[in-house]
Symmetry: C2
Subunit: 477 residues, 2 copies
């Protein structure tokens, strides 16, 4: 890293951690040069870099200022039909899942984290050591609630999101998917209705389908999440059994519900006496510091079932997830046992040690930094190459982002076309119970190499332009 | 091993593999001495050993003969109530599961295989190598149907049970428990009735409960399995949706349904147009060679969902199971994805290699031999120490055995008492939908050390005698 890059990195971190806030004036070039013992031209180079990344802007004769984050092209608030519906879209989901691992080019499709960071090394070492030196530990049946050592560490970890949990309040699962599936079954009977965000993660919707439930999609705002007003209307009108939300670094929209709205959501559930299933799988890689509180942190009567895993913060292949099931613990334990008995112990022990020895904290700190830069870069290249009527979400955590194209473009057709050239993404209809969001799609930005991403996005942009009504109109002239 | 022990082992193997059949006259002492180049007294010592093990008997003036296997004290045919019932017993099951790993003495309770054999070494080495040299392989999302390499090997493996499968016909699961749970959900709707053996494995019954189904327990014979006659009556009378059976090395009874009865069961399912879920988790450690055919091997129209895992043949901690779902493949894939997404890949790859390189065949050959000897030993010590009115199953595979005590003895009370002295077993009511078999229990005999088992059984016998009506009558005199 050259001097100017180092300085730019430093300034970027200060801005990202709100040391300099939006609209703030930044130190003058001279001041910085003195402070850091570098030349004037080095500082100028650093500022030019940040300008290019749209983090700072130069105002003539006044110096450099932190940019207002541009959120003006956000996706629209969703308007799903206001009645409970059967979930469809399984074939589309399966089609995408079967495509796992087959992409030759850049992986923009799956919600797969970056797993190349050297901060993962201690974890990998522990895994190798366990396999080598204590193989017998991995052979036996073990506690169906999961390793006590891991549950202990989880209690420590979740303090950061405002929770006070006891190891007995936790059940380890095979990833967050099992956690969601178990919780959905634990709070409902076949035929019941569950309220969800719109768009929503397809894995939870398919779990609703498999449990013979109906989904009630609630209008959702791209910055503040599920509309509490619309939710309350729905609760008045329908016998909804549970609310299912991903309020922190939402998949696919990337928003984090403001804390007061989380609390209001909890109060609403309380007044209608229903359960909340809270999916916090991206919570630890929020760009906010300290990380946002969970709805669970407001829970005084055990109605929140908090679900998470290390699939997004560490690696999905480990399949280590967990539930803090509150008052539903006994039912959750039953369904978890029935679903898959116990979970393999090595990954659990390795993660427990990773947390205990501080490796996890270090790793997610690194990941948060990387992902935030990668988000900025992706936003920038999208802005540079996609048609100007494109709307894009502004994720404040995780590594996925939602794009809304001109309403006439069909993302299912688009994805078929793109696959042929080795570019992939997750088409919008997967995130709806009934195949809406046809002009939307989700992109992954966990890839570190800017060049790779830029090339993939340029290819994608070219194909989008082919589908764009303006191009079509021009052609037909 | 001394000379006479070696010879005894040899003869035992010949008997066990039906080279000498029940009632056959064995070679004379002189003949054997000549044939093996050992002394007369060595042969005599070997025969004495086999006599003690009740494998051979001396007839005055005629020489040695293979014993009739004594199956006269078999448990009775079960007589469950002939109507569909809700499954209860979860608290009792949980109580036992929570007890996993806490036994200080001999583990007689859980259906845990012996994992100390050196034949497992190649597998452990592969696991350690994968963790060390290809850690990245274990991190990513992967095929939700499981590793193709493992599915390939499974196709080869299942030829031994009469199946012809294609890798696309298989779905890998998190143990056999997930396989059963997924299949039960795939073939039924909430409220449906499933016919099961009585007694039955508690894990499958609890899965029936969790899927909101009712269980119809069918009378079951300790040697031939589920009564086809009673099953047909039940099928006539109730709208049964599926039959759930463990026809090979049944848990807890140990019987293997004769092949013709397996075929009849399949035909019955065909004529009532319903599904069969076949749990074959112990099939590969049957003492018969070649191993018994599965019901799946008779399946011409895809109505059999075959479930298994490597939990009993290799090690449960690996959590590698699988389904051959026949015509239910799409539904099974959906429910499997929803339940836990993909399975960890290292254990799958390690098992695939273990099979490919012949280690698996070698391992189960060893295990079958050990378990058969250990069964004989357990039967012998039970006979020597338990009250004479005890009935015992005669497992022809696996490492578990069913005991029926005097009807006045309550195995739930017995287990509480025994736990205090560090001896444990699985009480009978766990194996019934509604808490029957109070005077029954299941014992594990996977432990290799004869002395340990003998001591544990003696302790158990002493406590059983305390509970026995004769002792109580004597005391009250
Ligand atoms: C919101 C959300 N919840 C749950 C999951 C499933 O996580 P896991 O891989 O731990 O099962 C995902 C993965 O894509 C997700 O995005
Ligand atoms: C008959 C039967 N089926 C299934 C299972 C569950 O096997 P797994 O540990 O592979 O989930 C067991 C385990 O005890 C069993 O005895």
């Amino acid at each position: 890293m050259t001097l100017y890059q180092k300085l730019a990195k430093r300034l970027r971190e200060h801005i990202q951690h709100d040391f300099y806030k939006q609209g703030d004036k930044l130190p003058s070039v001279r001041q910085l040069a003195q402070e850091h013992g570098v030349s004037i031209s080095t500082v100028q180079e650093a500022y030019r870099q940040l300008e290019q990344d749209q983090l700072v802007e130069a105002k003539p004769k006044s110096g450099y200022f932190v940019c207002q984050r541009k959120k003006d092209n956000l996706p629209s608030v969703s308007r799903p039909p206001q009645r409970p519906l059967e979930v469809s879209q399984w074939e589309e989901v399966l089609n995408m899942l079967m495509n796992r691992g087959s992409t030759k080019g850049l992986q923009l499709q799956h919600a797969m984290p970056d797993m190349t960071s050297s901060t993962l090394k201690p974890l990998l070492k522990t895994l190798a050591d366990l396999s080598k030196h204590k193989p017998e530990l991995g052979l036996s049946y073990a506690d169906i609630r999961g390793s006590e050592e891991l549950r202990n560490q989880l209690c420590r970890l979740t303090v950061a999101s405002g929770c006070q949990l006891h190891p007995d309040d936790l059940v380890i699962t095979s990833g967050c998917q099992e956690a969601l599936s178990v919780c959905i079954r634990a709070v409902s009977e076949p035929g019941d209705i569950v309220a969800i965000e719109s768009p929503s993660f397809y894995g939870s919707m398919q779990a609703i389908k498999a449990a013979n439930l109906k989904a009630m999609e609630i209008p959702t705002h791209p910055e503040t999440g599920i509309s509490l007003e619309a939710l309350e209307l729905a609760l008045d009108q329908w016998p909804i059994k549970a609310i299912f939300v991903t309020p922190t670094c939402n998949n696919p929209m990337g928003y984090t519900m403001p804390e007061d709205r989380k609390e209001q959501l909890y109060k609403l559930a309380q007044s209608y006496d229903i359960a909340i299933i809270e999916d916090d799988v991206y919570g630890d890689i929020s760009f906010q510091f300290p990380r946002p509180k969970t709805i669970k942190s407001f829970d005084t009567d055990g109605r929140v079932l908090l679900c998470s895993s290390f699939s997004k913060s560490v690696a999905p292949g480990l399949r280590v997830g967990w539930i803090a099931p509150g008052r539903y613990r006994d039912k959750v334990t039953h369904i978890k046992y029935v679903s898959s008995s116990m979970c393999p112990v090595f990954p659990q022990l390795a993660i427990a040690k990773f947390i205990r020895q501080g490796g996890y904290r270090k790793h997610i700190r690194q990941m948060r930094q990387n992902y935030e830069q990668q988000r900025d870069h992706l936003l920038q290249v999208i802005k540079a190459h996609f048609p100007s009527d494109t709307r894009v979400s502004f994720p404040d955590g995780s590594f996925i982002l939602w794009v809304e194209l001109n309403p006439s473009i069909d993302s299912i057709k688009l994805v078929e076309r793109c696959r042929k050239v080795g570019v992939d993404f997750a088409p919008g209809p997967l995130f709806s119970a009934t195949g809406k969001f046809r002009n939307g799609f989700r992109l992954n930005y966990s890839e570190q190499t800017m060049e790779k991403r830029e090339n993939a996005i340029k290819t994608l942009a070219k194909i989008i332009r082919e589908f764009h009504p303006e191009t079509i109109a021009q052609k037909s002239l």
